[in-house]
């Protein structure tokens, strides 16, 4: 296409992902844009790079919160598709980028992009979250995100011999904590009432959270719904 005044847009992304149609990319972008939080998170972009200078992921990966804010502000559908399939899982969600003088929240934009990606079952997100399902299982079922028994030498070899020592002593070390609600527990971080867990399951079903899990990992979904439904029926 010859460059005319109408289509002149320096920096506009090329089509790097021909496997998806433009309409599909635009549909995903509109889903992001229609999120209630979108307007709270994006006001435009000066392209000043202040967010990049504070961003840990920009130091480690080929990743830029500025590009995210800028692509969104320009509604560059191709670039946003690149971001949703290549970049979003690099963000550390530290929110250092909210130092933005334009009041943008690039980390928040990443959150919406991730949610849309999961809801639409994008393979890149399934890949990024491989190995993470056991944490989702724990947090949704037990109401606790991490527990001492997750500290196994196989999973944490880089934490050194301490993990070995810990896992050998875990049961007795737990009892040696004076705090009643956590003393003695190993498979959860703290004691949670059954009624509280049933309320949590109600939240997961009613908020549409289970639909997200279904898109992400069908077998995890089956596992979770089996247990939750049974517990809820028992009351």
């Amino acid at each position: 296409m010859p460059t005319t005044f109408e289509n002149w847009n320096p920096g506009k992304a090329e089509n790097r992902h021909p496997e998806a149609t433009y309409e599909e990319k635009e549909r995903l972008f509109l889903e992001v844009k229609n999120d209630v939080r979108y307007e709270d998170f994006l006001y435009g972009c000066y392209e000043c790079g202040i967010c990049v200078s504070t961003c840990p992921s920009a130091r480690f990966y080929d990743f830029s919160p500025r590009v995210i804010a800028q692509a969104m502000a320009r509604e560059d559908v191709e670039r946003i598709y690149d971001i949703i399939t290549e970049d979003i899982w690099n963000c550390a969600q530290c929110f250092s980028c909210v130092r933005c003088p334009r009041q943008n929240n690039p980390g928040g934009l990443v959150t919406i992009l991730r949610e849309v990606s999961l809801k639409n079952g994008l393979q890149e997100s399934k890949d990024a979250l491989q190995g993470y399902s056991r944490v989702i299982y724990k947090v949704m079922l037990k109401g606790n995100q991490v527990s001492p028994d997750m500290l196994q030498p196989d999973f944490f070899p880089d934490w050194g011999p301490w993990v070995q020592n810990f896992s050998q002593n875990m049961h007795v070390w737990r009892k040696a904590i004076p705090m009643d609600s956590i003393r003695g527990l190993t498979d959860v971080a703290w004691r949670t009432d059954r009624k509280t867990l049933l309320e949590l399951y109600t939240i997961w079903f009613e908020s549409g959270n289970m639909d997200i899990i279904k898109e992400l990992d069908e077998s995890l979904y089956d596992l979770l719904t089996d247990v939750m439904n049974e517990e809820l029926e028992e009351g």
Partner: protein, 405 residues
């Protein structure tokens, strides 16, 4: 004068200190909006009962911090991996006979999972928060949030609830199913703000001299970057240009707080990264934080106020040793330091054995004979193993060590 470019305007504005004036703050005052919603009957606004103290936040608004009748919103991270952080907070309450409630009607805020995986949504997250706050409200105790991420996440959700009626309606529909009201506390309070409020009282009861200690502070991102206007700032601390919590406590205890150039950087936790992509976490924690601290000020310890930061900074140091990086700084929370200063048992209360970077030189520098207390603790463990003791109780842990010596 030539006109400034956009970037020059930004640089110019950022070169001046933040002016603390609530009336010209760039954000709405959440409290006004909450009062409006309460008046309309849309929410229940939980108020503090009893004694509280007031401090200025980033733009000069006043934040109330309750002293007692607190509902301890535990952090899944610290209870799972650094329990001495939680037991130190409660131990400090017990030293002053302050009434508190350690609930079992509490779930994780699930924010760690949310930031790691996004396998949730705004409604689900807001409902989890509101359910926890309704549970606190039912007891009459005021929530004190132990985790930096829960604190930041809840403030973020509070903003979303205030801004979006459809979100409030949806959350209320879910809460109705469990017979709970939509409760928002009048302040969302982080435990380190309570520690800050109590610091002079801690100093009065200090038993361990800490004047030989140099420490660095890592302010937790989710404490002061998410909804930044709600973090406590004090003109006496860094000229009011950084959060006052943690640093002010250390100074009160006589510790020399040393500055370092990467104080604003995150620890590298990364939520998903710390679990499944730790090369990122480790590199950032060691190269940007720990090594910079050592190269610039060589501290005896580094102190923070969030679960994820303690874990990341502590555990990342082991593997870096193999690459001859400069590592070896013990990592503690502010509550653990305060408890130690007041004579908390290093193992029964502060639970040093859950930390992997060598803490022995630090305790030796404080003049604490850690071996003696370790032997005592081993004896506890032997009894627990033998079944003659069910576990360490507050009765074992309450008394400061210097008084038992």
């Amino acid at each position: 004068m030539t006109e400034l470019t956009t970037v020059e305007q930004i640089l110019e504005r950022k070169s001046h200190p933040v002016i603390r004036d609530a009336s010209v703050a760039p954000t709405d005052d959440m409290h006004d909006r909450l009062l409006e919603l309460e008046a309309k009957g849309e929410i229940v606004l939980q108020r503090m009962k009893g004694e509280y103290v007031e401090f200025p936040t980033k733009y000069g608004r006043i934040k109330k911090i309750p002293i007692q009748h607190t509902w301890h919103h535990k952090s899944c991270g610290h209870c799972g991996h650094i329990p001495g952080y939680a037991s130190s907070i409660l131990w400090l309450h017990r030293q002053f006979n302050l009434d508190y409630h350690d609930p079992t009607d509490q779930t994780s805020c699930t924010g760690w999972n949310y930031y790691a995986s996004s396998a949730s949504n705004a409604v689900g997250q807001a409902a989890v928060m509101s359910r926890n706050f309704a549970a606190a409200y039912e007891t009459g105790y005021f929530p004190l949030i132990h985790c930096g991420t829960s604190f930041g996440h809840y403030k973020e959700i509070r903003e979303q609830l205030v801004h979006h009626k459809e979100l409030r309606d949806e959350v209320r529909r879910i809460l109705d199913k469990m017979g709970k009201p939509l409760v928002i506390p009048e302040e969302i309070v982080h435990y380190s703000e309570w520690v800050y409020a109590m610091r002079d009282k801690f100093k009065e009861r200090q038993l361990v001299d800490m004047s030989q200690i140099t420490a660095t502070v890592h302010p937790a991102c989710h404490y002061y970057k998410i909804v930044a206007e709600d973090a406590i700032f004090d003109p006496e601390i860094y000229g009011g240009q950084r959060t006052a919590v943690v640093t002010a406590l250390l100074e009160s205890l006589g510790i020399n707080v040393a500055d370092y150039s990467t104080w604003f950087d995150c620890c590298g936790f990364g939520f998903r990264h710390v679990l499944v992509q730790r090369d990122f976490t480790r590199s950032f924690a060691v190269l940007r934080k720990i090594e910079t601290m050592i190269n610039e000020v060589n501290p005896d310890l580094t102190v923070t106020h969030d679960t994820g930061c303690v874990t990341t900074l502590d555990k990342s140091q082991f593997a870096a040793k193999a690459h001859d990086r400069k590592v070896g700084i013990p990592v503690l929370s502010d509550a653990q330091v305060a408890a130690l200063a007041m004579g908390a048992h290093p193992f029964r209360v502060v639970q040093f054995h859950w930390h992997s970077t060598d803490w022995r030189p630090f305790l030796e520098k404080l003049g604490i004979n850690w071996q003696k207390y370790w032997d005592e603790f081993q004896n506890d463990l032997d009894q627990i193993k033998a079944g003659t003791k069910s576990g360490i109780t507050w009765e074992d842990a309450d008394k400061p060590i210097h008084l038992t010596a």
